[in-house]
Symmetry: C2
Subunit: 121 residues, 2 copies
DNA sequence: CTCCCGTTCTGCTCAGGGCGAAACGTCCTG
DNA sequence: CAGGACGTTTCGCCCTGAGCAGAACGGGAG
Protein backbone atom coordinates (compact mmCIF):
# COMPACT_ATOMS: atom_id res chain seq x y z
CA UNK A 1 0.00 0.00 0.00
CA UNK A 2 1.54 3.22 -1.17
CA UNK A 3 1.09 6.26 0.99
CA UNK A 4 2.19 8.41 -1.93
CA UNK A 5 -1.13 10.17 -2.19
CA UNK A 6 -1.64 10.92 1.45
CA UNK A 7 -5.18 12.30 1.54
CA UNK A 8 -5.56 15.65 3.22
CA UNK A 9 -8.53 14.53 5.22
CA UNK A 10 -6.64 11.72 6.86
CA UNK A 11 -6.03 12.18 10.55
CA UNK A 12 -2.45 12.81 11.60
CA UNK A 13 -2.16 9.34 13.01
CA UNK A 14 -0.02 7.96 10.22
CA UNK A 15 2.96 7.17 12.46
CA UNK A 16 2.80 3.42 12.85
CA UNK A 17 5.15 3.54 15.85
CA UNK A 18 2.60 5.43 17.84
CA UNK A 19 0.14 3.63 20.07
CA UNK A 20 -3.34 3.41 18.74
CA UNK A 21 -4.85 5.69 21.31
CA UNK A 22 -7.80 7.54 19.82
CA UNK A 23 -6.67 11.13 19.75
CA UNK A 24 -8.91 13.99 18.75
CA UNK A 25 -11.52 12.06 16.76
CA UNK A 26 -11.34 8.63 15.29
CA UNK A 27 -8.73 5.92 15.21
CA UNK A 28 -7.76 4.28 11.98
CA UNK A 29 -9.37 1.05 10.91
CA UNK A 30 -6.25 -0.95 11.61
CA UNK A 31 -6.06 0.40 15.16
CA UNK A 32 -9.68 -0.37 15.90
CA UNK A 33 -9.45 -3.79 14.32
CA UNK A 34 -6.23 -4.68 16.08
CA UNK A 35 -7.47 -3.68 19.52
CA UNK A 36 -10.65 -5.58 19.01
CA UNK A 37 -8.87 -8.70 17.85
CA UNK A 38 -6.60 -8.62 20.87
CA UNK A 39 -9.53 -8.25 23.22
CA UNK A 40 -11.43 -11.05 21.55
CA UNK A 41 -8.38 -13.27 21.81
CA UNK A 42 -7.93 -12.40 25.47
CA UNK A 43 -11.60 -13.07 26.10
CA UNK A 44 -10.95 -16.59 24.89
CA UNK A 45 -7.87 -16.86 27.09
CA UNK A 46 -5.76 -17.64 24.07
CA UNK A 47 -2.11 -17.10 23.45
CA UNK A 48 -1.00 -15.03 20.53
CA UNK A 49 1.10 -17.88 19.18
CA UNK A 50 -1.81 -20.31 19.26
CA UNK A 51 -4.18 -18.01 17.47
CA UNK A 52 -1.54 -17.12 14.92
CA UNK A 53 -0.83 -20.78 14.32
CA UNK A 54 -4.48 -21.59 13.76
CA UNK A 55 -4.87 -18.60 11.50
CA UNK A 56 -1.86 -19.75 9.51
CA UNK A 57 0.09 -16.54 10.04
CA UNK A 58 3.28 -15.71 11.88
CA UNK A 59 3.08 -14.66 15.53
CA UNK A 60 5.12 -11.57 14.78
CA UNK A 61 2.59 -10.56 12.18
CA UNK A 62 -0.39 -11.16 14.43
CA UNK A 63 1.32 -9.04 17.04
CA UNK A 64 1.70 -6.27 14.52
CA UNK A 65 -1.91 -6.57 13.43
CA UNK A 66 -3.12 -6.40 17.00
CA UNK A 67 -1.01 -3.32 17.64
CA UNK A 68 -2.47 -1.62 14.58
CA UNK A 69 0.84 -1.52 12.79
CA UNK A 70 -0.33 -3.27 9.64
CA UNK A 71 -3.34 -3.14 7.38
CA UNK A 72 -4.04 -6.82 6.88
CA UNK A 73 -5.65 -8.06 3.72
CA UNK A 74 -9.24 -9.19 3.77
CA UNK A 75 -8.12 -12.78 3.62
CA UNK A 76 -5.92 -12.31 6.65
CA UNK A 77 -8.77 -10.70 8.55
CA UNK A 78 -10.92 -13.69 7.66
CA UNK A 79 -8.22 -16.11 8.76
CA UNK A 80 -7.74 -14.49 12.14
CA UNK A 81 -11.47 -14.24 12.66
CA UNK A 82 -11.78 -17.90 11.78
CA UNK A 83 -9.03 -18.77 14.25
CA UNK A 84 -11.08 -17.00 16.92
CA UNK A 85 -14.16 -18.92 15.73
CA UNK A 86 -15.80 -15.76 14.55
CA UNK A 87 -17.34 -14.72 11.27
CA UNK A 88 -16.55 -11.45 9.58
CA UNK A 89 -19.97 -10.31 10.71
CA UNK A 90 -19.20 -11.11 14.34
CA UNK A 91 -15.90 -9.33 14.07
CA UNK A 92 -17.22 -6.24 12.33
CA UNK A 93 -20.03 -5.95 14.85
CA UNK A 94 -17.52 -6.22 17.67
CA UNK A 95 -15.30 -3.53 16.15
CA UNK A 96 -18.32 -1.30 15.60
CA UNK A 97 -19.46 -1.72 19.18
CA UNK A 98 -16.01 -0.95 20.48
CA UNK A 99 -15.78 2.14 18.32
CA UNK A 100 -19.15 3.25 19.57
CA UNK A 101 -18.23 2.87 23.20
CA UNK A 102 -14.87 4.55 22.66
CA UNK A 103 -16.69 7.42 21.01
CA UNK A 104 -19.05 7.68 23.93
CA UNK A 105 -16.19 7.51 26.39
CA UNK A 106 -14.32 10.19 24.49
CA UNK A 107 -17.38 12.41 24.58
CA UNK A 108 -17.70 12.01 28.34
CA UNK A 109 -13.99 12.67 28.78
CA UNK A 110 -14.26 15.82 26.69
CA UNK A 111 -17.21 16.99 28.75
CA UNK A 112 -15.40 16.35 32.00
CA UNK A 113 -12.31 18.09 30.66
CA UNK A 114 -14.32 21.15 29.71
CA UNK A 115 -15.93 21.28 33.11
CA UNK A 116 -12.53 21.10 34.79
CA UNK A 117 -11.34 23.91 32.54
CA UNK A 118 -14.35 26.01 33.45
CA UNK A 119 -13.66 25.45 37.14
CA UNK A 120 -10.02 26.39 36.73
CA UNK A 121 -10.98 29.64 34.98
CA UNK B 1 0.13 -7.45 0.49
CA UNK B 2 1.64 -10.83 -0.26
CA UNK B 3 -0.62 -13.80 -0.48
CA UNK B 4 2.34 -16.09 -0.07
CA UNK B 5 0.96 -17.64 3.05
CA UNK B 6 -2.55 -18.22 1.88
CA UNK B 7 -4.34 -19.28 5.04
CA UNK B 8 -6.28 -22.50 4.85
CA UNK B 9 -9.28 -21.02 6.57
CA UNK B 10 -9.70 -18.32 3.98
CA UNK B 11 -12.80 -18.62 1.84
CA UNK B 12 -12.27 -19.35 -1.82
CA UNK B 13 -13.17 -15.84 -2.77
CA UNK B 14 -9.65 -14.76 -3.57
CA UNK B 15 -10.35 -14.05 -7.25
CA UNK B 16 -10.62 -10.28 -7.42
CA UNK B 17 -12.32 -10.45 -10.81
CA UNK B 18 -15.34 -12.14 -9.31
CA UNK B 19 -18.29 -10.13 -8.08
CA UNK B 20 -18.56 -9.77 -4.35
CA UNK B 21 -21.61 -11.98 -4.06
CA UNK B 22 -21.58 -13.69 -0.69
CA UNK B 23 -21.20 -17.34 -1.48
CA UNK B 24 -21.51 -20.05 1.12
CA UNK B 25 -20.77 -18.04 4.22
CA UNK B 26 -19.14 -14.71 4.57
CA UNK B 27 -17.85 -12.14 2.14
CA UNK B 28 -14.44 -10.66 2.53
CA UNK B 29 -13.96 -7.40 4.35
CA UNK B 30 -13.19 -5.54 1.17
CA UNK B 31 -16.41 -6.76 -0.44
CA UNK B 32 -18.55 -5.77 2.50
CA UNK B 33 -16.82 -2.42 2.84
CA UNK B 34 -17.05 -1.63 -0.83
CA UNK B 35 -20.72 -2.44 -1.13
CA UNK B 36 -21.49 -0.40 1.91
CA UNK B 37 -19.50 2.58 0.67
CA UNK B 38 -21.30 2.53 -2.66
CA UNK B 39 -24.68 2.37 -0.96
CA UNK B 40 -23.80 5.21 1.37
CA UNK B 41 -22.61 7.27 -1.58
CA UNK B 42 -25.80 6.53 -3.51
CA UNK B 43 -27.88 7.38 -0.47
CA UNK B 44 -26.33 10.82 -0.61
CA UNK B 45 -27.00 11.08 -4.34
CA UNK B 46 -23.33 11.66 -5.00
CA UNK B 47 -21.25 10.95 -8.04
CA UNK B 48 -18.25 8.72 -7.80
CA UNK B 49 -15.96 11.43 -9.15
CA UNK B 50 -17.14 13.98 -6.60
CA UNK B 51 -16.65 11.69 -3.66
CA UNK B 52 -13.29 10.56 -4.96
CA UNK B 53 -12.24 14.17 -5.45
CA UNK B 54 -13.20 15.13 -1.92
CA UNK B 55 -11.49 12.07 -0.57
CA UNK B 56 -8.37 12.98 -2.51
CA UNK B 57 -8.20 9.72 -4.42
CA UNK B 58 -8.62 8.84 -8.07
CA UNK B 59 -12.10 8.00 -9.32
CA UNK B 60 -10.78 4.79 -10.77
CA UNK B 61 -9.51 3.73 -7.39
CA UNK B 62 -12.74 4.54 -5.61
CA UNK B 63 -14.55 2.47 -8.22
CA UNK B 64 -12.29 -0.44 -7.45
CA UNK B 65 -12.75 -0.02 -3.71
CA UNK B 66 -16.52 0.02 -4.09
CA UNK B 67 -16.41 -3.13 -6.19
CA UNK B 68 -14.34 -4.90 -3.54
CA UNK B 69 -11.35 -5.21 -5.80
CA UNK B 70 -8.87 -3.55 -3.49
CA UNK B 71 -8.04 -3.60 0.18
CA UNK B 72 -7.65 0.09 0.87
CA UNK B 73 -5.35 1.30 3.59
CA UNK B 74 -6.82 2.61 6.81
CA UNK B 75 -6.02 6.15 5.74
CA UNK B 76 -7.93 5.65 2.50
CA UNK B 77 -10.89 4.25 4.39
CA UNK B 78 -10.82 7.29 6.63
CA UNK B 79 -10.56 9.64 3.66
CA UNK B 80 -13.52 8.11 1.86
CA UNK B 81 -15.56 8.06 5.05
CA UNK B 82 -14.69 11.70 5.57
CA UNK B 83 -15.74 12.53 2.05
CA UNK B 84 -19.10 10.96 2.82
CA UNK B 85 -19.20 12.97 6.04
CA UNK B 86 -18.98 9.83 8.14
CA UNK B 87 -16.70 8.77 10.91
CA UNK B 88 -14.99 5.41 10.99
CA UNK B 89 -17.50 4.49 13.66
CA UNK B 90 -20.45 5.37 11.45
CA UNK B 91 -18.93 3.41 8.62
CA UNK B 92 -18.06 0.33 10.63
CA UNK B 93 -21.53 0.28 12.14
CA UNK B 94 -23.04 0.53 8.68
CA UNK B 95 -20.91 -2.31 7.40
CA UNK B 96 -21.75 -4.42 10.44
CA UNK B 97 -25.45 -3.82 9.96
CA UNK B 98 -25.26 -4.72 6.32
CA UNK B 99 -23.36 -7.89 7.11
CA UNK B 100 -25.96 -8.79 9.71
CA UNK B 101 -28.86 -8.32 7.35
CA UNK B 102 -27.09 -10.24 4.60
CA UNK B 103 -26.50 -13.03 7.08
CA UNK B 104 -30.12 -12.98 8.09
CA UNK B 105 -31.23 -12.98 4.47
CA UNK B 106 -28.90 -15.87 3.74
CA UNK B 107 -30.34 -17.80 6.68
CA UNK B 108 -33.89 -17.25 5.45
CA UNK B 109 -32.89 -18.23 1.94
CA UNK B 110 -31.28 -21.40 3.27
CA UNK B 111 -34.40 -22.22 5.26
CA UNK B 112 -36.67 -21.66 2.28
CA UNK B 113 -34.33 -23.72 0.14
CA UNK B 114 -34.47 -26.59 2.62
CA UNK B 115 -38.23 -26.43 2.78
CA UNK B 116 -38.46 -26.54 -1.00
CA UNK B 117 -36.14 -29.53 -1.01
CA UNK B 118 -38.31 -31.28 1.58
CA UNK B 119 -41.40 -30.64 -0.52
CA UNK B 120 -39.68 -31.95 -3.63
CA UNK B 121 -38.69 -35.11 -1.81
C1' DC C 1 18.99 -19.57 36.90
C1' DT C 2 15.49 -21.52 33.03
C1' DC C 3 11.31 -21.27 30.68
C1' DC C 4 7.54 -19.04 28.55
C1' DC C 5 5.28 -15.32 26.35
C1' DG C 6 4.92 -11.16 23.80
C1' DT C 7 7.22 -7.79 21.40
C1' DT C 8 10.69 -5.54 18.67
C1' DC C 9 14.21 -5.42 15.27
C1' DT C 10 16.32 -6.57 10.92
C1' DG C 11 16.39 -7.82 6.28
C1' DC C 12 14.07 -9.66 2.50
C1' DT C 13 10.74 -10.81 -1.53
C1' DC C 14 7.19 -9.68 -4.37
C1' DA C 15 2.16 -8.85 -4.49
C1' DG C 16 -0.87 -5.41 -4.89
C1' DG C 17 -2.16 -0.48 -3.64
C1' DG C 18 -2.96 3.51 -6.04
C1' DC C 19 -2.28 5.96 -10.07
C1' DG C 20 -2.71 7.91 -15.13
C1' DA C 21 -4.17 6.83 -19.60
C1' DA C 22 -7.31 4.58 -22.33
C1' DA C 23 -11.53 2.32 -23.21
C1' DC C 24 -16.34 1.49 -22.55
C1' DG C 25 -21.33 2.43 -21.74
C1' DT C 26 -25.10 5.59 -21.35
C1' DC C 27 -27.59 9.66 -22.18
C1' DC C 28 -28.57 13.98 -24.43
C1' DT C 29 -28.49 17.30 -28.23
C1' DG C 30 -28.20 19.01 -32.94
C1' DC D 1 -27.74 9.39 -37.30
C1' DA D 2 -23.05 11.45 -35.18
C1' DG D 3 -20.86 13.85 -31.64
C1' DG D 4 -20.20 15.37 -27.04
C1' DA D 5 -20.50 14.96 -22.07
C1' DC D 6 -20.43 12.24 -18.18
C1' DG D 7 -19.68 8.29 -15.21
C1' DT D 8 -17.54 4.04 -14.72
C1' DT D 9 -14.43 0.28 -15.78
C1' DT D 10 -10.16 -1.66 -17.66
C1' DC D 11 -5.29 -1.75 -18.46
C1' DG D 12 -0.50 -1.22 -17.50
C1' DC D 13 2.81 0.34 -14.44
C1' DC D 14 5.81 1.87 -10.33
C1' DC D 15 7.25 1.17 -5.94
C1' DT D 16 5.58 0.73 -1.32
C1' DG D 17 4.54 -2.03 2.34
C1' DA D 18 2.41 -6.65 3.55
C1' DG D 19 3.95 -10.73 5.46
C1' DC D 20 7.63 -13.55 6.47
C1' DA D 21 11.90 -15.83 8.98
C1' DG D 22 15.50 -15.35 12.14
C1' DA D 23 17.35 -13.21 16.00
C1' DA D 24 17.20 -10.54 20.03
C1' DC D 25 15.05 -8.24 23.90
C1' DG D 26 12.10 -7.48 28.10
C1' DG D 27 9.16 -9.10 31.66
C1' DG D 28 7.11 -12.46 34.72
C1' DA D 29 6.84 -16.92 37.03
C1' DG D 30 8.79 -20.99 39.11
Amino acid sequence: MAETAAPDQAPDETDPKRPEAPQDGEPLWRDALGECLRDLRHDRGEKLTDTAGRAGISPQYLSEIERGMKDPSSEMIAAVAGALELTLTDLTVAVAERLRSVQFTASVAAYVHRSAYALAA
